[in-house]
């Protein structure tokens, strides 16, 4: 039996309504930001500055099968259509000659772009976008550390200074001071320290509910809901973190999962294999996550979205801006840098009692080998699925090889 949780449906409904409202606010002359998922959005939240997370918009584009259209627009401007497609598709949507024809009525023209200089291309994409009239780009550095303690998920909530390192925190805290002054000066909006502290507290409360939900799902057999429902259930509120709605939806999501567990609901009552999905969501084929339930009794019980919400965001104590810096100064490292990523995935695999792991390996530079190695060393069979998460044309086989691997391995 599989029942779509109402929180996921409510989150999707709310997101459409919120986006309509956002479009109306921008049409009414308010500023509007496109921000990277790894950038500190809480400052914008505290200033009531409307924003959209670029990765969320990319997922909508991919779900509407518009990625190729927008990548073609990037190519028409003379830029490559094959680099960092997660951000490139969003840039392409800005070049759309018929923006209202885009998904959900189209993305409004931003006045601010906020992102960190991850990789070699992100800064360039935002910089090119900032050539459009009225668009400003506020870049943040992406910094790295020599020696880091492995057990970041234990240290991050309270001992983040130790986990991240003071040098990186000094940098990002100073950059955020500058961002606040920049926004105050250019928009006339007020940054209230009291309001900012409320936002930080709401974020922590929201992730505390996600932590409870993650732990509940981890210990429940058979799995009470599929990852294709946990992803919208946790991520739509995640894009609204720092609001009461976000906090309340995380609590409602937890209560709903708890009710399903109490009622004995199961994604697949004949669950025989518990699978872990490592990597970004496969937005162009979300059906993959349910494809092997009937044939193999295989259920995806884990994706990073709920787990990183549980372990990756909570920060307590210290100066508020520094606390926020601690959330993002090493955010990508948590998911992709050895030894942090591998050690965490192994911890999560054990917590959820998974039988096997499906690891999405794209043509971008992430620490894939080390993640796979850590999991295999810990005794988990791993299938590396080669695909791009937004571009369906990039050699994706529809899951055929995964099915063969399940046949051969279990």
């Amino acid at each position: 039996m599989s029942v779509t949780p109402s929180v996921a449906e409510e989150a999707k409904r709310y997101q459409r309504e919120w986006f309509r409202g956002l479009r109306a606010r921008v049409a009414g002359g308010e500023p509007f930001a496109v921000v990277n998922a790894d950038a500190p959005q809480e400052i914008l939240r505290a200033m009531d500055f409307p924003y959209v997370v670029s990765q969320w918009w990319a997922s909508i584009i991919a779900a509407k099968q518009r990625s190729r259209d927008y990548l073609d627009l990037v190519r028409e401007r003379g830029y490559p259509d094959y680099t960092e497609q997660y951000n490139s598709v969003v840039l392409g949507s800005a070049f759309d000659p018929d923006p209202a024809g885009g998904p959900w009525g189209g993305l409004p023209r931003p006045t601010l772009l906020l992102g960190d200089a991850t990789g070699d291309v992100t800064r360039r994409i935002f910089d090119v976008w900032a050539h459009e009239p009225g668009v400003a780009f506020y870049p943040l550095e992406s910094a790295a550390e020599n020696e880091v303690p492995t057990n970041w998920w234990e240290l991050m909530p309270y001992r983040w200074e130790e986990a991240v390192g003071a040098t990186r925190l000094d940098l990002l805290e100073a950059e955020l001071e500058g961002l606040v002054r920049f926004l105050e000066s250019t928009t006339g909006r007020v940054f209230s320290e009291a309001r900012f502290r409320e936002v930080l507290a709401l974020v922590n409360e929201q992730q505390e509910w996600n932590l409870r939900t993650r732990d509940l799902i981890a210990r429940t057999r058979p799995a009470p809901l599929p990852v294709s429902d946990t992803i919208p259930g946790v991520m739509v509120p995640q894009w609204h973190r720092g609001t009461e709605w976000g906090r309340d939806m995380a609590r409602a999501f937890h209560d709903e999962v708890a009710a399903r567990v109490a009622a004995g609901d199961a994604v697949c009552p004949e669950e025989r294999l518990r699978l872990m999905w490592i990597g970004r969501g496969l937005w162009h084929d979300m059906g993959l996550y349910r494809r092997f339930e009937q044939s193999h009794g295989a259920v995806f019980v884990w994706s990073m979205y709920l787990a990183i919400a549980a372990d990756g965001y909570r920060r307590y104590g210290g100066r508020p801006l520094r606390q926020l810096a601690a959330r993002f100064a090493a955010f990508t490292d948590q998911l992709y840098m050895p030894p942090w990523a591998g050690a965490w995935y192994v911890k999560e695999a054990r917590l959820h009692g998974v039988d096997g792991v499906v690891h999405l390996v794209s043509d971008d530079p992430r620490g894939s080998w080390f993640t796979t190695r850590a999991l295999r060393d810990a005794g988990f069979p791993v299938f590396e699925l080669r695909a791009d998460n937004v571009d369906a044309s990039a050699g994706y086989d529809g899951g055929a090889a995964l099915g063969e691997w399940l046949d051969a391995t279990f």
Binding site: R77, G78, Y79, P80, Y82, T83, E84, A117, G119, D120, V121, R123, R124, I125, D127, V128, P139, E141, A143, A144, E145, N146, T167, R168, D170, L171, A174, E175, G178, M337, P338, P339, V361, S362, D363, D364, P365, R366, G367, S368, W369, F370, R373, D377
Partner: protein
């Protein structure tokens, strides 16, 4: 010229008492020199076996970094007491993580101790403060490695030597722009300085400055795009009748373009922050200005981007010229 070519072609190993291999032009070599060690920049090999690098770094990453890792694992570089990696591009950062982790989980590989010098490039004082802190930490690490502190006087002397090296290269670059040094030879003139002690390189550069160099024939080209740690692509272009008189990568003109012009750690931090602009660490506008400057001495713009090196193709938009994207390492499909 013959001596410089011979040093470049004989890369590696170099003999010295303490060799610090380094990856990326963002490593402040002045500090290594000041510590009494020999900085040796690691190049890949397009004709070598990349498979070990492919395994640990994945095939989506710049093959130059994959090749460096493969060569490190194969012991191609001779004596390497330590390894220092910069954040000049994503591939270098990934290489650092890979070496650090392989040392932990595969100690039998015998990889050298690796250290990241995380020099960043946004044009802000917050970044300067960060870079200064990182350079101070690197200075301390060098003291731990060599057993002696890097004094202010040591640092000032090393900066002066490396700045003289940059000044001499800038002076010789005038002859190169006039077509009297072929592009592939220029890679050797510059590249010899990435493996020789700075004093030895200075001596060879001074000697070259006194030579009357003949003019080469060929269509004068400014080359934009990926960096070239070997002369393979330059030679292919030269065989097609091109004469490369300038480029915008840091195995060539960007290696020496900016001087420290000071003697302190802060001056050094600012030099590395504002050095470049490389494709991976700058804006399209900064690169456009650099290309325009280079084209003052060239008849043709050629853009070259290696497969896996994702930043350079963003610079090609809006320019007239010949553009080669997604090329195999060390190859160009003319």
């Amino acid at each position: 010229m013959r001596a410089l070519l011979s040093v470049y072609e004989a890369r590696y190993p170099r003999e010295a008492e303490f060799v610090v291999g380094y990856v990326g032009a963002d490593v402040p070599v002045e500090l290594i020199t000041a510590a009494g060690a020999l900085p040796v920049r690691l190049a890949g090999d397009p004709d070598g076996d990349l498979s070990a690098g492919d395994t640990y770094l994945g095939r989506g990453l710049d093959p130059m970094a994959r090749s460096v890792l493969a060569r490190l694992l194969a012991g191609d570089y001779g004596r390497l007491d330590k390894l220092v990696v910069s954040r000049d591009c994503e591939a270098s950062l990934r290489l650092f993580y890979a070496v650090r982790e392989l040392r932990r989980i595969e100690p039998a590989f015998g990889l050298p101790e690796v250290y990241l010098v995380d020099v960043l490039h946004l044009p802000h004082r917050t970044t300067t403060a960060y870079n200064l802190a990182r350079l101070e930490q690197f200075r301390q690490r060098l003291r731990d490695w060599t057993g002696r502190p890097v004094s202010d006087a040591d640092l000032a002397a090393a900066i002066a030597s490396h700045d003289e090296q940059r000044a001499l290269l800038s002076s010789l670059a005038a002859a190169r722009r006039e077509g009297r040094i072929a592009g592939s030879d220029w890679l050797a003139v510059v590249g010899a300085g990435t493996v020789l002690p700075v004093a030895a390189h200075l001596s060879l550069l001074r000697e070259l400055s006194t030579v009357d160099l003949p003019e080469h024939a060929g269509k004068r080209v400014f080359l934009t795009g990926s960096s070239h740690d070997t002369p393979h692509v330059y030679r292919a272009l030269e065989s097609a009748g091109h004469l490369i008189v300038g480029e915008d990568h840091d195995w060539g003109d960007l290696w020496y373009r900016r001087r420290v012009d000071g003697h302190t750690l802060l001056a050094l931090a600012e030099r590395y922050q504002y050095n470049g602009p490389t494709a991976q660490r700058s804006t399209v506008d900064e690169r456009r200005a650099l290309i325009a400057e280079g084209m003052r001495h060239a008849e043709l713009l050629i853009g070259y981007a290696r497969r896996g090196d994702e930043a350079p193709p963003w610079d090609f938009a809006g320019h007239e010229g010949l553009f080669y994207e997604r090329q195999d390492y060390g190859r160009i499909a003319l």
